[in-house]
């Protein structure tokens, strides 16, 4: 086990990649859609929140 992380991430194998899209709200309560923001790669970090 790596000393730096408990769980290793998974790189998606070629031919097994899944295209996704979703719409949520931004921090101004405006609609935000992933596909509108893919002029580059996107890194989305998921948080437990209320920190």
């Amino acid at each position: 086990m790596s000393p730096s992380t408990l769980t290793m991430g998974t790189r998606t194998e070629e031919g097994n990649k899944l295209a996704i899209d979703f719409s949520v709200l931004d921090a101004a309560a405006k609609p935000w859609t992933l596909s509108d923001h893919l002029d580059a790669a996107a890194v989305i970090t998921f948080h437990r929140g209320d920190f």
């Binding site: 101004a28 580059a40 790669a41 989305i44 998921f46 948080h47 437990r48 929140g49």
Partner: protein
């Protein structure tokens, strides 16, 4: 770079302000739009929060890397994420400054001035448990070591936050 949580936009605005984040945090309050479909809902946690994690999405909309934490304390190593991002071979880009609406912190949110104490307390509690139960298993030793290393990275990051806010 985008954050995402099950908090309201106002709560996310509060976190963005508290941590002087240069990227937005998005809101999926019912967890039905992104958190559950992407496998980040923790059904064993009654607080209806998201598991910590990361997805990297290529410009053509495909998930190329995914990390889902086992629980709220199992979080990805930033270096690993940067390495995966670099492996895409894309040109560096910039991101527009993040904006947010009215700040509405949650009732249990830790004030910015208390974050260092919170993180230090978590670190020393984990160190004490590691010493007390060091003979239990290698998994326990490795897990607490990883947790302490993560908290130490957060304490360093907090210094950068305070510099941005100064």
């Amino acid at each position: 770079m985008f954050g995402l949580s099950a908090d309201s936009p106002g709560q996310n605005a509060a976190v963005m302000e508290k941590l002087a984040l240069p990227f937005p945090i998005l809101s999926d309050v019912e967890r039905d739009l992104a958190i559950t479909p992407l496998g980040f809902a923790d059904e064993n946690d009654p607080r209806l929060i998201s598991r910590p994690g990361v997805v990297i999405i290529s410009p053509d909309g495909e998930i190329v890397f995914r990390f889902v934490g086992k629980d709220y304390a199992d979080r990805p190593d930033e270096d690993l994420v940067l390495e995966e991002l670099g492996s895409l071979g894309l040109d560096p880009t910039s991101q527009e400054a993040a904006e947010h609406g009215p700040v509405e912190p949650g009732k249990t949110a830790i004030p910015g001035a208390g974050l260092e104490y919170y993180l230090s307390g978590a670190k020393f509690a984990a160190l004490a448990l590691r010493r007390r139960y060091r003979d239990i298993s290698d998994d326990f030793k490795d897990g607490t070591k990883a947790y302490v290393a993560m908290v130490e990275r957060y304490l360093e990051a907090l210094k950068a936050v305070n510099e941005r806010k100064a």
